[in-house]
């Protein structure tokens, strides 16, 4: 299977990937080559912001995979995102070395502050990048696997599953708030210095992280497309539309769900791992149930069950959030709340569906179109 076969028929996706490629080429040039005085210069702040949006977009794609194609409304995907972020945060924490406030060669500042004498066992190995990167994928994956194994086997579905995923992320949030857990408690992990030896504050590193996010989004998108267009994906859609029937036909519904759910969680973990070095902090607030619900609305706004719609939704809503919270901080929650209501009431297919709706509306107005539609 090649990229071409996977992307066949996905016009929106093709356009999205093309735009992504252009942005990934143009933005670094505008940042590094064009002088700051020029109006075409893109500030490093904007580059980082774009990189952040791209990680959100990857997260939204992961959510769309399970919600759009499998029918599982996960209200806990921020948990997987957060776990991936924490894995990366732990690596970045270890990279600080003795440059912390307390200057301890091994222990991060908050551990010194808590009077801990040695590194807890679960912090071992996080000084190695490959280990942290692996954990950023494996930890969310394992959690999703265990949770999914239990839930899907006993056929917890629909609303119940949504509420359970919400309880999961809520429990994780409470747990990470505890200082005793050894993840920095309330303050989380921050004050990062460098990644793989590159200074996190330098423009080049920022560009590198931005490009990595774009690359991860492209690869994640292709992987999801591959799943969706495969046999597995078609069974998933069947499960979404008629779970009992699919089971009676003879498919192992729980296994299909488990496979896709776990993969989606891993994808969310990758997004989290890319997110943390760009924003420079990870704290338990990332696990808050509000975040998980918010990212579902990105998908809903972009268009459920169209992977490229999730990307559009994530970027649009977050751009709106950045703009509103700067310009009218009071209005942001009104706007977001109204978005939730309006999209569910009037735009069940989101922005991606809007294009289709306009097209059918136009076709129905032209006599040839309506004739063509009436023919079959």
């Amino acid at each position: 299977m090649g990229v071409a076969s996977v992307m066949r028929g996905d016009k929106g996706g093709q356009a999205m990937l093309a735009v992504l490629l252009v942005v990934a080429v143009v933005v670094p040039i505008l940042n590094l080559v064009v002088p700051e005085s020029s109006p075409w210069h893109v500030s490093t702040y904007t580059v980082t912001l774009l990189g952040k949006y791209l990680t959100y977009a990857l997260l939204a794609v992961a959510v769309d995979l399970v919600w759009g194609y499998l029918g599982i409304l996960s209200l806990g995907h921020a948990a997987f995102f957060g776990l991936g972020g924490y894995a990366m945060g732990m690596y970045l924490m270890r990279q600080i070395g003795d440059r912390g406030v307390y200057g301890h060669p091994v222990l991060p500042d908050f551990m010194v502050f808590l009077n801990w004498s040695e590194l807890p066992w679960f912090w071992q190995g996080f000084d190695l990048f490959w280990f942290a990167a692996l954990m950023a994928i494996l930890v969310p994956g394992t959690l999703a696997f265990v949770f999914g194994y239990l839930a899907f086997r006993s056929r917890v579905t629909g609303v119940y599953l949504s509420i359970m995923t919400q309880a999961l992320t809520y429990a994780l949030m409470l747990a990470f708030f505890r200082n005793e857990m050894g993840f920095g408690g309330n303050n989380g992990l921050t004050d990062f210095k460098d990644i793989l030896g590159f200074d996190l504050k330098s423009d080049a590193t920022r560009i590198g992280l931005f490009l990595a996010s774009a690359g991860a989004l492209a690869l994640g998108y292709l992987a999801c497309r591959w799943i969706v267009t495969s046999r597995l994906g078609r069974v998933a859609v069947a499960i979404r539309d008629a779970e009992a029937r699919t089971r009676f036909i003879g498919y192992r519904v729980d296994r299909v769900k488990l496979a896709i759910f776990t993969f989606s969680a891993m994808l969310a973990g990758v997004a989290g791992a890319l997110y943390v070095p760009q924003v420079g902090i990870i704290n338990p607030g990332e696990f808050s149930p509000l975040n998980s619900i918010e990212l579902v609305i990105w998908v809903a706004i972009g268009g459920r069950a169209t992977l490229y719609g999730a990307v559009i939704g994530a970027i649009l809503v977050n751009y709106g959030k950045t703009y509103f919270t700067g310009a009218f901080p009071e209005a942001w929650l009104f706007a977001l709340g109204a978005l939730f209501v309006i999209v569910t009431l009037f735009l069940p297919k989101g922005i991606a569906g809007l294009v289709g709706m306009i097209r059918t509306w136009r076709r129905s107005r032209s006599p040839a179109g309506s004739a063509a539609e009436a023919a079959p």
Binding site: S154, I163, L174, V296, E330, L333, F334, L336, V341, T344
Partner: protein, 543 residues
């Protein structure tokens, strides 16, 4: 008999005598007695202990509680005399030396150098005299609260003079709580008796006593008791106390658990209707609770002089406000989304954000202060080791009342019948003439109204702020899902169970970990029984 006869025979004479006595008593403090006390205060700093003793005797006459404070300061060695006019003063360290306050009326007398005041010394004889005087002053007070405090302060004082004063007061004391303390005090005093038999009797009397002082005294006795029999008895008595304390601690934990459970039930029971009966996932439920709490706040603002009655106005007000808001939400948003539970989840979540921001912009982003009526504060003292706070007690009772009321509405009214009919089979109910749209609106309004009422109760326990609803929404869903959707009894049992489980785990796990464990337990429980504790049976359950 004879005095009665006498007074009957000479009524006018007796009356006259009384009037004279009164007159003398009234005049004395105004004139000579006040002077006498002033003179006595000066005499306190005299060199001669005899003069001081006489002064104490003068001050101790009468029942001025401030005199007791002064004498206590003197006994504790905290009383000083100012050199300039020999007035007794209390001192506090200040940058320039001492800051003085008048020992009798507490007025500020400014700062002086350390050398300007002199400590008033006392000897052993005076100590005894002071103890007697203080005990007499405070124990004889007409105010039972002061007597209780005095009795508590003297607890276990083995000084024979104090013991005598206590014994005397016990003869005329009519307040049961003060009597208990006086009794205990005497028993504790006799723990130090020379005679082993007296000690033994005291130990046996203390067995199972819940007063902390009893436990401390027995523990102390164990370490230096020479008599083996008394020692053994003390060990037994202490064991009995420990046993009883454990029982009381368990009762207290249970009460806290039920209290937390009642809060959960209150928060969840409205949800049990909207989610359980109608199948609507109302993420704005927490915000309806918040609206109820803010209604309480506004009601209290509107009737500042009637705090004690404010809750009785706030409860119906919150029900109406939240209920109408619920009907509005149902008519404008939710009715388009029936049968699509995940969509209602998203839409109502949007509504919850709007409501939060609405409160933030119109009232304040900060928490507001909702006051407790006087009858809500204080505690019901079951015994010295167990007190149930009134606010938690009333809210527990209130939760049960709301539960019963809802149960009656659903089972005994026409509306309830229609609600259940629509929930079971909408098409059939409609064909029987039930106006299902109206029933939907009313049911949702009922659930929202109950959320508002819960908000009134919660405003008495927790902070009221724009975010308060979010704290309850997840717990509420947990309770409803754990109890079994569509089952009010399930909600009650689940709420109380989770509350008690949480509080049982708290002592060894800590509050946060206990909560996490409860969440994990529910997650695992739902795997085993996906339909909760009390699942709905029949075809309707196969969703």
């Amino acid at each position: 008999m004879s005095p009665t006869n006498q007074s009957r025979r000479f009524p006018s004479l007796a009356g006259l005598g009384l009037v004279y006595a009164f007159l003398i008593l009234m005049v004395l403090p105004l004139g000579s007695m006040a002077d006498e006390i002033d003179a006595a205060l000066i005499d306190l700093s005299d060199r001669s202990f005899e003069v001081k003793q006489a002064a104490v005797d003068v001050i101790a006459v009468g029942d001025d509680p401030r005199a007791a404070t002064l004498l206590e300061a003197l006994l504790g060695g905290n009383l000083y005399a100012r050199d300039s006019d020999r007035r007794p003063v209390l001192v506090a360290p200040a940058p320039g030396g001492y800051r003085l306050t008048d020992a009798l009326d507490g007025s500020d007398l400014g700062e002086v150098e350390r050398s300007d005041v002199k400590k008033i010394t006392i000897n052993n004889r005076m100590r005894n005299q002071l103890r007697t005087a203080i005990a007499a002053l405070t124990l004889a007070s007409p105010d039972p609260a002061i007597r209780l405090k005095a009795a508590q302060q003297m607890l276990g004082d083995a000084n024979p003079i104090v013991v005598e004063a206590i014994r005397e007061q016990l003869g005329r004391e009519d307040d049961q709580r003060v009597r208990d303390y006086l009794d205990l005090s005497l028993t504790l005093a006799s723990l130090r008796d020379e005679a082993p038999a007296a000690r033994l009797a005291a130990v046996n009397a203390l067995s199972g006593s819940l007063y902390p002082a009893a436990r401390n005294a027995l523990t102390k006795l164990l370490s230096d008791e020479p008599d083996p029999e008394v020692h053994a008895a003390a060990e037994q008595a202490l064991a009995a106390i420990e046993q009883k304390l454990k029982l009381n601690a368990a009762a207290e934990t249970l009460f806290f658990g039920l209290s937390l459970g009642s809060v959960l039930v209150l928060a969840a029971i409205g949800l049990a209707i909207t989610f359980g009966v109608m199948g609507v996932i109302n993420m704005a439920h927490g915000e309806l609770i918040m609206i109820g709490a803010y209604t309480t706040y506004l009601v209290q603002q509107a009737m500042p002089g009637f705090l004690d009655y404010s809750l009785f106005v706030a409860i119906p007000a919150a029900f109406v406000v939240a209920g109408l808001l619920g009907i509005l939400i149902e008519r404008t948003v939710i009715r388009f989304l029936y049968g699509r539970p995940l969509e209602t989840l998203l839409a109502t979540f949007g509504i919850s954000l709007i409501l939060q921001q609405l409160v933030r912009t119109t009232i304040s982003a900060q928490n507001v202060a909702v006051q407790n009526p006087s009858w809500m504060s204080g505690a019901l003292q079951i015994n010295p080791a167990l007190a149930l706070t009134y606010n938690r007690l009333y809210i527990l009772i209130f939760a049960l009342m709301v539960f019963v009321a809802l149960l009656l509405i659903l089972k005994r009214t026409a509306l309830g019948l229609q609600v259940r009919a629509v929930a079971q089979n909408r098409a059939m109910a409609r064909s029987m003439g039930v106006r299902s749209a109206r029933v939907d609106a009313l049911t949702f309004g009922l659930g929202a109204g109950v959320a508002g009422v819960a908000g009134v109760a919660l405003s008495q326990l927790t902070n009221v702020g724009p975010n308060m609803g979010q704290a309850y929404i997840i717990d509420s869903f947990m309770v409803v899902v754990f109890g079994g959707v569509g089952n009010l009894w399930g909600t009650l049992v689940a709420g109380l169970t989770l509350g008690v489980a949480n509080k049982l785990m708290e002592p060894w796990a800590g509050a946060v970990l206990a909560k996490i464990l409860v969440l994990v337990f529910i997650i695992l429980f739902i795997q085993k029984r996906p339909r909760g504790l009390f699942p709905q049976r029949g075809r309707a359950a196969d969703g």
